[in-house]
Symmetry: D2
């Protein structure tokens, strides 16, 4: 039940504080014999890294992953893969003025209430830096999923009030990484970038929404009744820092629809696989988001994750310290204006972990 472990047959145990020695984790349950492409894994980490552009925060984190176990001669051995990334450039001194202060909408106060003790430097365990561990584990999961034809694509669907309303089918998901804000629609991307620039100037921040699309999942993943595929995806997403909501398929908007519009009609297509004619059953629409009764139905799986505005502002704020004294918080350092672009690889990673876990669970019962 370890609270810092996620997953059952494929799991990540995560450790580390932002201003400690390192962050990292142990991946347990990667099948043996997977080619461990270290370039791919490092590249996934780089996608999460701040300072990739004028858009995201400028803190320089080199973030080179080191593997301590579980890989032998370039292949996974089936045993736990431990990895870590050193915390360099940590400048803890930047946080001295925050010692004993509860920053608004940060985890300072609630951690202190829980543990009676806390590492005040940069969020400690609650720092976004911890998501690096998830990206690393997700990268390993993607390597295994690739083998079975499951792929994931996340992109920024909204920043502040700028929304990309086009259906994902009408977007070229290969262009996501070309956008500074990871929005695969050029016009919307430009608007988003502008909004971020303006907010940066005013010292303010905003939130955003990330969409994730999963293709190639066979029908049958997910378990009734508590371990529905969407249940575990929801848990995974809400465990990401700053996430405030999750919806899949038609989501919250679906609540307003009529059943007669919302139902996904089944139909059969003639399939000709290796000389054998089969009827493949598909749905005409996909308001179900590829999941029915908690179990994948072979259609694309898609969902949205809402992120709140970054709570670290470049303006003065009122707060209290541990003794209840009123204090002013003076901004220091640099912070993201909107976390959504950097959350993209984290969303993908958490989704990849859930999908691989459920794929392994699915395999287990095929005796």
């Amino acid at each position: 039940m370890a609270a810092n472990t996620f997953g059952t047959l494929f799991s990540l145990s995560s450790f580390g504080e932002s201003h400690g020695i390192a962050v990292g984790g142990i991946i347990d349950g990667l099948p043996a014999g997977i080619d461990v492409d270290m370039n791919f894994i490092q590249n996934e980490l780089n996608r999460r890294k701040p300072g990739q552009s004028g858009i995201t925060t400028q803190r320089n984190e080199s973030d080179i992953i080191k593997i301590l176990s579980g890989v032998f001669e370039g292949k996974s051995t089936g045993t736990p893969i431990a990895f870590f990334v050193e915390n360099k450039d940590i400048r803890s001194g930047d946080y001295d003025h925050l010692k004993g202060v509860y920053r608004p909408s940060h985890a300072d106060y609630s951690y202190h209430m829980k543990y009676g003790i806390r590492d005040h430097r940069g969020g400690g365990r609650a720092s976004g830096r911890e998501t690096l561990n998830r990206v690393a584990a997700g990268a390993f999961a993607k390597l295994a999923l690739e083998k079975v034809g499951i792929r994931l694509f996340a992109y920024v669907k909204q920043i502040g009030s700028i929304k990309l309303l086009k259906d994902y089918n009408k977007l070229d998901l290969q262009t996501i990484e070309k956008s500074l804000v990871r929005c695969p629609d050029e016009r919307t991307s430009i608007l988003m970038e502008k909004l971020i620039s303006e907010l940066r100037k005013s010292g303010d921040t905003t939130g955003g929404v990330v969409r994730c699309v999963i293709t190639g999942a066979p029908a049958g993943l997910g378990d009734p009744v508590f371990d529905k595929l969407q249940s575990n995806l929801a848990k995974a997403m809400l465990s990401i820092n700053a996430a405030k909501g999750f919806e899949y398929g038609s989501g919250f908007q679906g609540s307003e629809m009529l059943g007669s519009d919302h139902n996904d009609e089944f139909f059969a297509v003639q399939e000709n696989k290796e000389g054998v004619k089969n009827k493949l059953i598909k749905t005409k629409t996909n308001h179900s988001g590829g999941i029915q009764g908690g179990i994948s139905n072979g259609e694309d799986i898609y969902f949205n994750v809402a992120f709140k505005p970054v709570p670290s502002l470049m303006m003065e704020q009122n707060s209290v310290d541990e003794k209840g004294n009123a204090v002013k918080i003076i901004p220091k350092g640099r912070h993201d204006v909107c976390i959504a672009p950097r959350a993209v690889p984290v969303v993908e990673a958490m989704a990849a972990m859930v999908m691989l876990d459920h794929f392994l669970r699915y395999k287990a019962y095929k005796i």
Copy 2:
């Protein structure tokens, strides 16, 4: 990892199909010595029952709970509490015409793909009837939570496009059960009832949103980083049949806000408890929904759950059968027009289970 078990220190293992002999479960981890108020528990089950009014489905389910273990002379013993409710009035024959047919947006197809076998009668394991188990377990959890001052209130916030936009602080949550649709605002309630009546006439259905508010939770519940309080609430909610989305605090709308508006400012109030003067730290606003960094901060916890339109329509629909042949689905029996009112006690129950589990986990580490 049992997929039909939910929770760690307080858990429910659920069983049963809608048209089998019974549904029920085993509750593990209720502390010993709790007074087991059977009237309260039965009443909670009655709240979930269909046919309570003209608004919900007419199927008559008596749903009397039977306890098989774990209670001795009116008190919990600390050992597992097994319970079940017989499936009476099941009229399986009603479903004969659906044998081999995949109903749109039901779990028929995905279950069949997963297991290669399925109980076609009334949804089987995927039936909403299974939620009865959750309401029972939630009722026991509420008895324990009551002891420590934690209370839960859920209500219908939206049906179709009719939305209750008032803040929950401005509602009288004691009036929820007086509304046929469980909406504690008379005018909105009437509009919702009308919408349901009209949809019933046209044979159509719609979705809705349920809000849940939790009061009295101490600061410190929830565990970083994967078992955040909202992560487990999200998982719990998305495991409810027909749930499509979860958001807490400012949720999806928060994504559009500015950080300077969204941040919850801390302040201290002088508290005078048992002669000792203390400073109690509070927040001026509560966009955080009572949770910061995954851990409760002592404010009210609140969240929304979106439900999709009921997929069983009282109109003809196109579909396919197991062999891929086109079929027409002719409606039979009676079904809810909107599941949100009946989902209210289920949302409360799942939330109660999560809260008790996290409360026990919190206690564990106070050595």
Copy 3:
């Protein structure tokens, strides 16, 4: 982590007290499509039942299993299988004289200290009657294991000081059930029966040892490092009432051996499977008990379980009550002289659960 649930991919959640309404459980993770042979399952329960002969206790328990879910038209559906057995003939009044009394070497005192409340009737949750749940779940596990060629045989190896020292390879394991004490060696069986008769006359009891042999397990079951096959077998066995020890392969005696005698030498045999010649690797001896490094090696798996003397004596004993007052315990009812013969099906059942769980885990990673 539910304490009353055992197993991961195949699990049993157990409930019930000896003098409550029923005992039973929920089996989660039986693969779909298994033919559920109810005669076999009932017969397994009958093997555990007391009063089968002059040897075991005379209490009449009819113990008819009822299935509430998870089986449809004779096959497992992949969903949870709930079952229960009513407690008839319970005569709780037999235990009135024990109210508030701590029986020596029973669980009365420790339960009371843990929970502050207890069901004093017949051991409550700690009663051997709970093992009925395990036998039921084990029977389902055996049905699945049979499909993949794994079989289990347990027998009585020792009662009091009467020991069967022959190697299991020299016994006819098909004769186990023919012996009143479940010892597949006629001469030893007779000696054991005599010992039991004599002890019964004197009102005394004794302990015993059960051996279990598992054949047909492929190499590769078990997980390093904590979920070694023997670790989970040990946990399973020590969870059986009255079990005091577990050893596999050479066990405690192996500690006295020299490495040069103990090591199991590998050799290769020419195998001719479906026209292909292969070398099958075997070991000349099997001190390893079929497990090396926590993982099965394809040889027979075998282990012993020690059981303590039955603590319910037919003679007066000294004890104390809840207030610390000295009391005399006067025997009532009838009890087993030695639990080992009736533990045989329980040992098999727990072993079957462990083996199926590990088999499913093994399958999961073969992507």
Copy 4:
């Protein structure tokens, strides 16, 4: 269910191969605010280290533990504690001659069958070096247990056929570390040392038995029915490399006893705690080993663990390689003659983890 994670509320996730870069782990669930005495922790690791005397293997391992997270200003923060120890002096070349060879009674063959791939160097994941992780986690657990008055003492009870038969009550457990073989009886210790010297000369090895005694545990630890205290101790012990058996209290010998001799009679003693007179209930004997019905009863907890002879011999052995060809294994390097003395801190560590976990579980339900 991560197979490389042990424990629920207090857990260790372990990683590492003997000849990889490092071994280590993540400890989750140490309560916040514990003083982390690094000298004590390093000393515990040193106790496990080989080459401490002429008795154990000469390989030089410096084994300095490095903490990466979870400790702030000398105190535990409640977040995961990651640690690792580098593998220096690994001389992988020593194992080149074993590439593709299955060493008798090692894990080479079974790992290969499971994973289809293996790190052949020095046992890889199956190496005894992994137990270092357990000793580290156990050291942290001991720091927390010390706070609540629970202490653990393990010693060598048997090496080969040399047995220490005295009751642990008659030994001075403070002298354990003074003996080269960790046997707190001078005469037996000398005999054991002699046996080891002689076996070393002949290139042979033997097994042994370790006893562990736990004092100060309150009544009430352990959970019915599957998570009995002895069940989890048994699992913990059987997960240690080379362990072949576990018994607690009277153990296997208890099977031969009469119930009238075996039962532990309760009696009450007058206790005078802080001015209040109470009756403390004790047992006259302790064949129960401090556990009744799976729950501690306040008496000392004690158990034995059997270890097999070390399979690495300093003599030529026959075996096969991966293709089934007969090969000769020529000894290289240095190995322990008997693992029991070095297993002592590992047994204590695993027991400490189980005890802390159950203590936290016990606390959780005291609401």
